[in-house]
């Protein structure tokens, strides 16, 4: 289909990092859940690790522009989000899967992803093809026309992943995407993540350390709203020793780094 290509689409990419945060502060309720976080994320799959209450969900919500920062600067895909940001254009290039996302029970999987495609302002003629593709990519092709309420937890989460990637986003934010997935599904998901990471910046928040080790090129460790460590999975593993708590090298490294950070903070 012959289409017009807007000049803005061809404008050179002026940003080095997809996500750039400096001293980011984000409030959640009355707490300052993210408190002075510096972050640089580029292409690839980044794993976001941290104990409960570390501010992971709040950080992801801030990156999804669903929460406004209380302080610091946040630049996403080259757009600095100041006082009155123009979010529509940016959000079309965003994919977001919240930790608890809901759905209308009577919607079928296809209708759910189509509705999200509409909310994401995708061009209408691209929608059916894109919806079918992403449903296949998450392995729900045979359940595509079943109502969401008939799906298991793992399938629902996969439908959630499908809506997040339907618009081929440049920045993909996934909050606990592997909850409820069985080991085979998690393996398939990691392959999908790696594919996506080649052309987008993907941030995956998870408490499953093995997922991080297998699929991520970069690990971001946070605690109490601050950055603890950012590096490759190998570097995290190297930080741990035999007497650190953990079942595998990454877990041990995680515990070690966390312990060191907390010791310094006190």
């Amino acid at each position: 289909m012959v289409r017009k290509v807007a000049a803005t689409e061809l404008a050179p990419t002026t940003y080095g990092w997809h996500v750039q945060a400096d001293g980011l502060q984000v409030r959640a309720g009355r707490r300052m859940a993210v408190d002075g976080l510096d972050l640089r994320l580029g292409l690839g799959v980044h794993g976001l690790l941290g104990p409960n209450g570390a501010g992971k969900t709040t950080l992801i919500r801030a990156l999804a522009t669903v929460l406004r920062p209380a302080g610091g600067t946040l630049t996403l895909l080259g757009e600095q989000l100041g006082a009155r940001p123009d979010l529509r254009a940016f959000r079309r290039r965003l994919g977001y899967l919240p930790q608890d996302f809901g759905f209308y029970p009577r919607f079928t999987v296809r209708e759910f992803v189509e509705y999200m495609a509409w909310l994401k302002e995708m061009p209408p003629r691209d929608v059916p093809g894109a919806v079918q593709r992403t449903i296949e990519q998450v392995g729900l092709a045979d359940r595509a026309d079943d109502r969401m309420k008939t799906l298991s937890g793992g399938m629902l989460r996969r439908a959630g992943i499908a809506q997040a990637i339907v618009n081929d986003p440049d920045l993909l934010l996934l909050d606990e995407p592997t909850v409820g997935l069985d080991p085979t599904q998690r393996l398939e998901f990691r392959t999908l993540l790696r594919e996506l990471g080649e052309q987008s910046c993907v941030l995956v928040s998870t408490h499953l350390v093995e997922d991080v080790a297998a699929a991520c090129t970069n690990v971001v460790l946070v605690d109490e709203g601050r950055m603890v460590y950012q590096g490759t999975p190998a570097e995290v593993a190297a930080a741990g020793g035999a007497d650190d708590v953990g079942d595998n090298p990454i877990e041990r490294g995680y515990t070690a780094l966390l312990g060191r950070h907390r010791a310094v903070a006190r």
Binding site: A28, G29, V66, F103, Y115
Partner: protein, 270 residues
């Protein structure tokens, strides 16, 4: 030297295209653009034996894999409807209509004819259920996903509000006609409260705003009116210009502050 585009492709260009041979760039461009829209020329593509074999092989694989039925054809109307009011909102909208119907019933059955019109008393708050339902996280399961989307903000607010009004205004108008009350007094305060809930909602959250305004109205107008069996002065026709002003003001506030509808209300977060 090059002539203007012919209506259909030339045979030799088509043959070269099928064979995978080189074609001058401008010819190839025109041809591909044309073929996408011209079934006749597509039919004229000569299917060479290797191509036919290729297509046949692929077809056997396709027909083997194409089990089951295709996706059911969804009514375009239903899909369009969902973009105006999500399913979770429709239910509450229905409550609003039922409340109106109940008011009509009570008014009609009122033998004395002295009691103030319940329809007029209820009209301003009947749509609040539908308005609040569209923006309450507990009610709308897809609230966070919707708020995070590009379409969030003024567009979605307007759509969902229009959906409420499209249902409530005819219902209230019909109620007004049946119970023989001034349509303007029936409808304008209703609009003011709808806009007012949204406007106040940009500050304290739509659900809370709906509750506040609803309770205020009940306490300040409905109860006194029923107690004194005299319609509150606020619903006198003389007050209509002020109600109109309220609609405009609340509408303006909502539009100016519509950015609020693109974020999660931080007060609701754990």
């Amino acid at each position: 030297m090059s002539r203007t585009t012919e209506r259909h492709a030339e045979d030799d260009v088509l043959a070269a295209y099928v064979a995978g041979a080189a074609i001058p760039l401008d010819a190839e461009w025109a041809l591909e653009a044309h073929l996408e829209n011209c079934a006749r020329c597509r039919a004229r593509l000569a299917v060479t034996p290797p191509l036919a074999e290729f297509l046949a092989t692929v077809w056997t694989r396709i027909s083997a894999a194409a089990t089951g039925a295709p996706a059911p054809v969804r009514s375009r109307l239903l899909r369009a409807l969902r973009t105006w009011a999500p399913p979770s909102q429709l239910l509450w909208l229905l409550f609003g209509v039922l409340v109106t119907a109940a008011a009509v019933g009570i008014d009609v059955l009122d033998a004395t004819g002295h009691a103030p019109s319940l329809v007029l008393l209820v009209a301003p708050v009947a749509p609040l259920l539908g308005v609040a339902a569209a923006w309450t996280r507990g009610v709308d399961p897809m609230a966070e996903l919707a708020v995070a989307s590009p379409r969030a903000g003024l567009q979605l607010v307007l759509r969902r509000t229009v959906a409420v009004l499209v249902v409530m205004i005819p219902a209230l108008a019909a109620a007004g006609v049946v119970t023989d009350v001034s349509l303007a007094v029936c409808l304008v305060p209703c609009l003011a409260f709808t806009a007012g809930t949204l406007a106040l909602g940009t500050v304290v959250g739509v659900a809370r705003a709906a509750v506040v305004l609803g309770v205020l109205w009940v306490v300040a107008v409905i109860v006194p009116s029923l107690a004194t069996t005299e319609l509150s002065a606020l619903l006198a026709p003389a007050g209509l210009p002020f109600w109109g002003l309220a609609v405009a003001a609340a509408g303006a506030v909502t539009v100016l502050r519509s950015r609020v509808f693109t974020t999660l209300p931080s007060t609701n977060l754990p």
